[in-house]
Amino acid sequence: MGKLRPRMVTPLLAAVLAVSVSACGGGGGGTDAGASPGASQPAEKIKLTVALFSDFHFAPLYEEFKKTHPNVEIVERRSQFNDHHKNLTTKLATGAGAADVEAVEAGYIATFTPLVDKFHNLGDYGMAKRQADYLDWKWKQGLSPDGSKVLGLGTDIGGLAMCYRTDLFKKAGLPTDREEVSALWPTWEAYLEAGKKFTAAKVSGAKWFDGPGENFRAMVDQAPVGFYDTSNTLVAGTNPDVKKAWDLSVQSIQADQSAKLAAFSPPWNTGLTKGSFATIICPSWKTGSIKDAAPTTSGKWDVAAVPGGGGGNQGGTHLMAPKQGKHPKEAAELIDLLTNKDSQLKLFSEAGALPSIPALYDDPTITGFTNPFFSDAPTGKIFTDAAKALKPQHVGPKAGDVLTAFGNGLQRVEQGKQSPDEAWTQVLEDLDRIK
């Protein structure tokens, strides 16, 4: 019975707080509109909270913000990826608890932008000027569905590459030079064939890749249409590109290429350190994750082009300001600073976050950037090339849940619980449940 409490109190809270928040929102907007003409900062102390789902390496940027806003205190809080987004939904619905600045990942952005009345329009605080900076599709992802309001500003994007272990490649008699490795897999079919060679070499304790889910996601991300069409209709079950990605994933499982590790789980971390798999799909931000999860493997990695040709985006984030926040002007200014050109440049070298500002793709700091952790691979050039080749795909509202259904299906095949056909049928049933 104890478990019933929070859930049932929530709708009540929603009712009560919806009233109080709308009151605050109106009042706050009024005072800010009055205060904004004055160039000087208001003297009152302000606390801004920033809610993230991992370490974005924002800390030095906060210090920079405080230089121009000495009255602002910034508190960052982090939670696990899925929790972060589910919590944000709940907090918006109940009208309490959201941070002043919330990070929203690409898989969820389409869930939140239709909630126009829950977020501050950053356009009201002069952020419409930022449009010129951005990749067009990234900018549009942060707009309200009718395009009239700026609800989120982009941080990074997830241009794709393939990271691989040179030591394991060497043992299997495969080339280790990144150009030759890229030439091994112009397509995902070729990647599967290269995997067969690797498996035939029987390198002890090592499989071809970590788990089928992430590769499946990458293949779908590269298609012109993914799980949803542009009118937000769920087409995952009928899209031939999705079925092709599924079939290739199943074939790779049947060829015993998977290390059967779920990405970002503790066993996956161990697998990274111990070299349980030779290749791993690498959106640029993942170069940071690998480095954080397996620091001892420095120098054993390298980065090659992704199979299937450059396109495809995996992840990337927007920063949004929920209406619950009482300091929209400061929040908008903080978002502006965290996403501006200089910051994105810094975050690329700090955290591997690939900028969403195309002007930076020719910046020598980035094009000349090499990553010592990945055998001095020119990750700057590799990922900016990927970003230039990237064909954006429409992300639908429940893309996260759809991906979970497919991931579970592939795992059922991997664990030998179902035949591929049975698993596919159950995935389709699960898709029907997604409302």
């Binding site: 929790d83 503790p266 066993p267 795992q411």
Partner: protein, 324 residues
């Protein structure tokens, strides 16, 4: 008890009320009121809180379960029992019910037997008794997250300690997380780790109230330790056993954190829902913001708990006659 004593003293005033004037009468009325009403006032805080946080949510959940109710929509359509009919035809619901019962039995039965045995061992003069008792309670004080994280490592497929130990006996690599039986076993072990000591202490407290003479008499009659446990201890502490069985059963019905964390935030309880419990199933629908359906599952779970508690009570009552 102590608080009632003064009342009783005040009940008999020095003069009989009938012969005294109005003030005395009033005082008498106040005394009567005090005696009759005060006990209710004393227990009122609990019942008010219970109504606000226990009864109201229960009733409100029933109300929500009769609606198509999602968090992000302000429109709640009344659909009668449709959520329940959908639920009863939902394979995933029955799968979750099976998992809950399976994990419940696998964890509760060995746990209570072990607790009984441990309590029996500790129910004798020992050196450093407090240390043993505190040690027993330690796993229960540990955060459930820490316990599950550590045990998930132990039950790891590739580098887990348990598979490593089993490999000495020629047992091949077991993917604990993947199989139904293996994952239920792993989760049950985590639950047992946390709750065995706790239940042992409750049993131990009850055992210490059993008169020593019974054991002495039994010893003289030549009854061994096990016979004494079976014929004296168990019948004498039967009310405590019923209590522990019922609380453990309710606890087992509500298992959430262990499967959720064991699956590394897989709200489906593994790819094949092989260890999705009822609570986790509620949580899954809750995170989909489908409150109507989640409430319907909550009510079914409540009914299951009531049924399980009644069956438990009947079984444990019949199990063995008391000493007298």
């Amino acid at each position: 008890m102590a608080t009632r004593a003064p009342d009783q003293l005040r009940v008999s005033p020095p003069h009989p009320p009938s012969r005294s004037g109005d003030p005395a009468r009033l005082r008498h009325l106040l005394y009567r009121l005090d005696v009759k009403a005060s006990p209710y006032a004393y227990v009122a805080p609990f019942f008010l809180l219970f109504c606000a946080f226990g009864l109201f949510p229960l009733v409100y959940t029933a109300w929500v379960s009769l609606h198509e109710w999602t968090l992000l929509s302000d429109v709640h359509t009344f659909i009668g029992l449709e959520n329940f009919t959908t639920l009863l035809a939902d394979d995933y619901f029955w799968n979750a019910t099976f998992n809950t019962v399976s994990i419940g039995v696998l964890s509760t039965v060995p746990q209570l037997l072990l607790a009984l045995w441990l309590a029996h061992l500790l129910n004798r003069p020992l050196r450093a008794q407090t240390i043993f008792r505190v040690t027993l309670l330690l796993p229960n004080v540990t955060s459930v997250v820490a316990v599950v994280v550590i045990f998930s490592q132990l039950f790891g497929r590739d580098y887990g300690l348990i598979n490593w130990a089993l490999s000495w006996f020629g047992v091949g690599t077991i993917d604990w997380n993947a199989g139904t039986a293996t994952s239920h076993t792993a989760i049950s072990v985590m639950i047992m780790w946390r709750w065995t000591g706790y239940n042992t202490l409750i049993f131990l407290a009850a055992m210490q109230a059993v008169p020593r003479e019974l054991y002495e008499a039994a010893t003289i009659d030549g009854a061994g330790g096990f016979t004494q446990l079976r014929k004296i201890t168990v019948p004498m502490i039967r009310p405590t056993i019923i209590f522990v069985v019922i609380t453990s059963t309710i606890g087992a019905m509500q298992v959430l954190a262990e499967p959720l964390l064991f699956g590394i935030y897989s709200i489906t309880g593994g790819p094949d829902r092989q260890y999705q419990t009822l609570s986790l199933f509620i949580y899954e629908n809750f995170t989909k913001l489908d409150f109507g359906y989640a409430s319907a599952i909550s009510w079914m779970m409540f009914l299951f708990i009531v049924v399980a508690a009644v069956i438990n009570y009947l079984l444990t009552r019949r199990a063995r006659g008391s000493l007298t």
